[in-house]
């Protein structure tokens, strides 16, 4: 019977060409590969840092995820993706995931990172540091908690999955009923960017007189930020506050330098350095360029270099030095002035000097001034942080809320005042304040710059020479300073000091799925249903009443 029909169908195709087209075109469509349908949830995820520094690889070397999601209390993570809240995730878990060869981690970040308790902050910072200790092939993603994601998270927590069942049958039954989620990150794998160009922005104010014969003061701040995920690194305190201080100093001193009566006999050199969080690569390259170039540079006989890093919080200012400045030197005068100004203008602020020798054995330099000190240039860093606690300056917790505009304004004022006293040689006590009224540190300016910097992720790999942040900073500098230059540099081709990777932000899709066992059960159910339909149809006597059977067979269901 079947063969007859087959030949009938073939006959049909022989005689009618359009009909055979109708038959074959869908067939061709069927054979062609299908594209995946749109998912239930699509959301942006931020990948963990990935970089090479001085030949060692750090962070997450893999970007692609296509595995099922699992909650934290699962025992086996092989080919699974852990979905967890930031506060529940620990270093031990991370190590366990790596040894089990997990397929990925999705970490949900709480809404407001600044409202965490101090011990929670400590936990996050330690976690960030531990995760970046070495390289791993485990894709680690961060994403802010949304209602949909929380739903997914709770759904995962409460669903019973096969891993926790007692017996094999139990496991089979449970997994057949379970709801799962497939997490997928598609797209290109993260790639190294060997031609990545880092920008240093340099500007200067020439002193009164012949420029080459005047002493010079350099003010340096690195403008990039660092956190566990590049797209979450807002780095407001470190080093948004330093950048704001530098811009504000440039503004105020440019005002003074335009009038011949207040034109000091000092050159001022301003540098916004790039890739500072990667062992001050920008500063290192800038110093090399300046000192090794044939023409006489202002930097070679600089009086002192003032680096600013993290001054947006706290009620103290520490002057970090590698070698305490000799009494009588310009640097020492600046420090004395700072102490004096602080006691006059803001008695609550403590100013102290912290002496720490450069440890060449360590991988990382503690402070930016050490780059200068290594080249025997007198330099120091101002910061509200007492020790070189690496964690507090390199965390995603360093958001805009971490900077108090009032404190920052006050600190900028103190530094500017002390600098002015040193430059204009106003050493006797009882000196009136220089920066008052029209020359005041404007808290609105500070605030708007801070808001801008605190709202843009500023990890070094996001800030290439065309990035908006670099352009804005350059524009900001050139408003006050003459001769603003971009120094663009890239890592050495053969022996790269640093390599950045792309792929900071990806799109993750969460699909709700059922396990394969479920389909098996479904197939059993459907075939028994069809068997019943067939049996009913067979039992019906097939005589004159066409159409009798099939109706009954359907109504039988």
């Amino acid at each position: 019977m079947l063969l007859d029909e087959a030949s009938e169908v073939l006959e049909m195709f022989k005689h009618s060409f359009p009909l055979s087209m109708l038959f074959f075109v869908p067939l061709l469509i069927i054979i062609s590969p299908a594209s995946p349908v749109s998912a239930a949830h699509d959301f942006a995820v931020y990948r963990m840092q990935q970089y090479d520094l001085h030949g060692s690889a750090y962070g997450c070397r893999n970007a692609l995820v296509n595995v099922e999601a699992r909650p934290l209390d699962t025992t086996s993570f092989t080919r699974r993706c852990l979905v967890t809240k930031l506060m529940e995730f620990t270093t031990e878990k991370y190590k366990e995931l790596i040894t089990q060869n997990a397929g990925g981690v999705l970490i949900l970040l709480p809404d407001n990172l600044t409202s965490l308790k101090p011990e929670e902050k400590e936990h996050v910072m330690e976690l960030e540091q531990e995760l970046l200790q070495e390289e791993s092939h485990l894709p680690v993603y961060f994403t802010p908690e949304t209602d949909e994601l929380l739903e997914l998270y709770h759904g995962l927590k409460h669903s019973i999955n096969s891993d926790q069942a007692g017996s094999a049958t139990q496991a089979l039954m449970k997994s057949a009923g379970a709801n799962g989620f497939q997490l997928i990150v598609n797209g290109p794998q993260s790639k190294a960017m060997p031609d990545f160009q880092v920008v240093n922005l340099q500007g200067k104010l020439s002193g009164y007189g012949i420029e080459e014969q005047l002493p010079t003061v350099a003010i340096v701040a690195h403008y990039d930020a660092f956190g566990i995920a590049p797209s979450l690194s807002f780095g407001s305190d470190s080093n948004g506050s330093g950048v704001v201080a530098l811009l504000e100093m440039a503004r105020l001193f440019s005002k003074l330098y335009t009038s011949s009566r207040t034109h000091a006999k000092y050159n001022m050199l301003f540098l916004l350095s790039g890739a500072g969080k990667y062992n001050y690569q920008g500063t290192r390259r800038w110093i090399e360029d300046q000192l090794d170039s044939s023409e006489n540079s202002l930097l070679s006989d600089v009086s002192y270099v003032l680096c600013v890093d993290a001054i947006g919080n706290g009620d103290s200012l520490y002057l970090h030095v590698s070698k305490p400045p000799k009494p009588g030197s310009a640097g020492h005068t600046f420090y004395e002035n700072l102490v004096e100004v602080a006691s006059e203008l803001s008695p609550g602020t403590t100013v102290a000097q912290v002496h720490k020798k450069i440890n060449l054995a360590e991988d990382y330099l503690s402070w930016e001034h050490e780059r200068f000190s290594m080249r025997r240039l007198p330099a120091f860093t101002l910061s509200h942080l007492e020790s070189q606690r690496y964690m507090a300056r390199n965390t995603i917790l360093d958001t805009r809320d971490n900077v108090d505009t009032k404190v920052l304004t006050k600190n900028v004022q103190l530094i500017t005042e002390a600098l002015a006293r040193q430059i204009f040689n106003l050493n006797n006590s009882g000196t009136p304040q220089v920066f008052v009224e029209g020359l005041r540190v404007e808290s609105q300016v500070v605030e708007s710059w801070m808001d801008y910097l605190g709202s843009t992720p500023r990890s070094a790999q996001l800030l290439d020479k065309n990035s908006a942040v670099v352009n804005t900073l350059e524009h900001g500098l050139s408003r006050y300073l003459k001769d603003v230059q971009r120094h663009v540099f890239r890592s050495d081709k053969r022996d790269p000091e640093f390599v950045f990777y792309n792929g900071a932000t990806y799109q993750m899709s969460a699909y709700s799925v059922k396990p394969a066992v479920f389909d098996l059960f479904l197939a059993l159910g459907i075939s028994s249903y069809l068997a019943i339909v067939f049996l009913v149809a067979q039992i019906m006597p097939r005589h004159h009443m066409f159409g009798y059977e099939e109706r009954l067979s359907h109504e039988g269901n």
């Binding site: 009938e8 049909m12 709700s512 799925v513 389909d519 339909v533 159409g547 009798y548 359907h554």
Partner: protein, 231 residues
Amino acid sequence: MTFFHFGNCVALAYVPYILVYKCSGLSEYSAFWKCVQAGALYLLTQLCKMIVLATFFPTSDISSDSLDVVGEFLKSTVDLADLVGIHFVMSNVAGKGQLKFLIAGVGWATAELIMTKFWPLWVGARGVEFDWKYIQMSFDSNVSLVQHISTAALVWLYGRTDLNKSFLPVVVTLLGLSCYRPLIVEILIHAVGLGSWTLLLAKAVFTICVGLIALQMYLGLSVSKEVNSYY
């Protein structure tokens, strides 16, 4: 989900059609080509309906939650063309007696199944995301098979001269019901707030009732005819 899942859905949707074709005796009469013709007429009818709908019922961009009963009623009225189409199939394509409405019903339903259900299944049921709606859709196609056969039977009954006149209002009512079924379903969704499973169940029960009544009338007719003559 997987290709397996797609296979499940296709089996659920299509195998009953094949079973009906085999077991009802259609295959013994080599009615395949006639069913295809019925399907082609289905396509033609849908085209005409679409032209009418596009001309007289332009879609509004404003999608409101409230139900426009009058508009929907008018739209459902266009579905009367389906009945005309089925009648046309029976009067022009299929030849022999009672086989007529089976051919019309099965051909019509199969064409609808292929046109409206296959592509969503192919795209949806094979995707990564799991959703019960593809299984429901497959079940629904079984229900509509019964629905189309009983509609065809009703149309056939309506055209019979030997039908007891007292049955005529019942036939017309049932035809009206099957024609306005989408509207009734829509109203049910809005008024009672039926979920997808209960809605499917309601459709099945409704269709079975219509089918049973049609079957009863058809049986009465064919029994009386058996007494009278051989067709």
